[in-house]
């Protein structure tokens, strides 16, 4: 399995490919609030993350703040322990 750093780079590339208007994504940018991940793409994003971590992710109210920033994705999804 790829390291957390490689995984987060893959996430960044996946998001930037969908947003050609963006040059870069800051680790602490709120991806939800700024609609880098929008309503239509959210579940695709979850599926993409699941393919990287090779497990099902908890997508329930109360646990979703993990999806908000690249930093929280790295810390809470790619390095959950």
């Amino acid at each position: 399995m790829s390291s957390a750093t490689e995984s987060i780079q893959a996430v960044k590339e996946w998001l930037l490919a969908k947003h050609p208007e963006l040059d870069d994504l800051e680790p602490n940018l709120d991806l939800i609030e700024n609609r880098v991940i929008d309503s239509l793409g959210f579940m695709d994003f979850v599926f993409f993350l699941e393919s990287l971590v090779e497990r099902e992710l908890d997508v329930e109210a109360g646990s979703v703040d993990a999806f908000r920033t690249l930093r929280s994705i790295e810390e809470k999804i790619f390095q959950p322990d």
Partner: protein, 286 residues
């Protein structure tokens, strides 16, 4: 005349409702005016521009907001009778109970189901150097499976106060109105709860609906545990992007609106004050 099945206000003759359509007399208009005065005073405090928009919205404009993806069931569509059938089928006289779909032109316009869509369309392409506040009221329409007195009408009035600007300004707008509405409710003796909610999506399991549940964008003031009479809505930068409304740095604006369902306020106030319009007016005048 049987009045047992009617709501008290209707039985008292201060309003009539049929098929989700309400008719109001002078007592209810006085309540509406008093309520509107309070809301408009808040709008004036923040420098909101009062505006009135056309009562029809182009279907293609709503489509840009994913309206038909998310809310196709709500849309009340405006059309016209095709000119080819006017003389033969209509202008000769006779009763008309319904216009068959084959006689109608394509419905290119929709009656609004919320007041604020027109605000974003009006500001299309604007560049803002400071937060912008607009208030408007609209007669709104929503197809529903069932109608329920003043609580759920086919046609109703929605007053909104919209903020467009940086995210923090919009959040502050919503925070300040949460306080205003809470204080106002306490002042007039109305017991309201608050709850996070989602919009009435056609497909409650859609990605959009699911995301709204996970990341709440809508908080409601609820009377009697279930009737939402006002809501605070945070749209993030959705309308800013779709209508190309930007701040001077080029970033799409964020937006949020405070919405008041006026007839639902009537219901709550009448229910609270024993269906006595004079007592409602006394409470609103305090």
């Amino acid at each position: 005349m049987a009045t047992e099945s009617k709501a008290p206000g209707e039985a008292d003759g201060i309003y009539q409702i049929s098929g989700g359509l309400a008719t109001f007399g002078p007592e209810m208009l006085a309540i509406r005016e008093a309520l509107e005065q309070r809301i408009l005073a808040w709008a004036a405090e923040i420098g909101a521009r009062p505006m009135l928009f056309p009562p029809l919205i182009r279907a293609r404009d709503l489509s840009r907001f994913d309206y038909f993806l998310n809310f196709p069931h709500l849309a009340v569509v405006a059309s016209r009778i095709r000119s080819e059938v006017l003389a033969e089928r209509y202008a000769k006289g006779g009763d008309v109970d319904a216009i068959p779909p084959d006689d109608l032109s394509a419905g290119r316009y929709v009656l609004p189901s919320a007041a604020c869509y027109n605000v974003y369309l009006h500001l299309e392409g604007a560049v803002l150097d400071a937060p912008c506040y607009i208030t408007t009221v609209a007669t709104c329409f929503r197809n529903e499976n069932a109608y329920d007195e003043l609580q759920r009408l086919w046609s109703f009035s929605m007053r909104e106060i919209v903020c467009l600007g940086p995210a923090e300004a919009v959040k502050e707008h919503l925070r300040s109105f949460k306080e205003r509405i809470s204080s106002f409710a306490a002042e007039i003796g109305l017991s309201l709860g608050t709850q996070f909610a989602t919009d009435p999506f056609y497909q409650p399991q859609s990605s959009t609906a699911r995301m709204q549940k996970l990341f709440p964008q809508k908080e409601e003031f609820v009377y009697g545990g279930e009737l939402a009479i006002a809501s605070l809505n945070f749209h993030r930068n959705f309308f800013g992007e779709r209508c190309n409304i930007c701040m001077t740095d080029g970033a799409p604006v964020f937006s949020g609106c405070v919405a008041f369902g006026l007839e639902r306020w009537f219901h709550a106030l009448l229910d609270r004050y024993q269906h006595n319009p004079e007592r409602v007016l006394e409470a609103l005048a305090l």
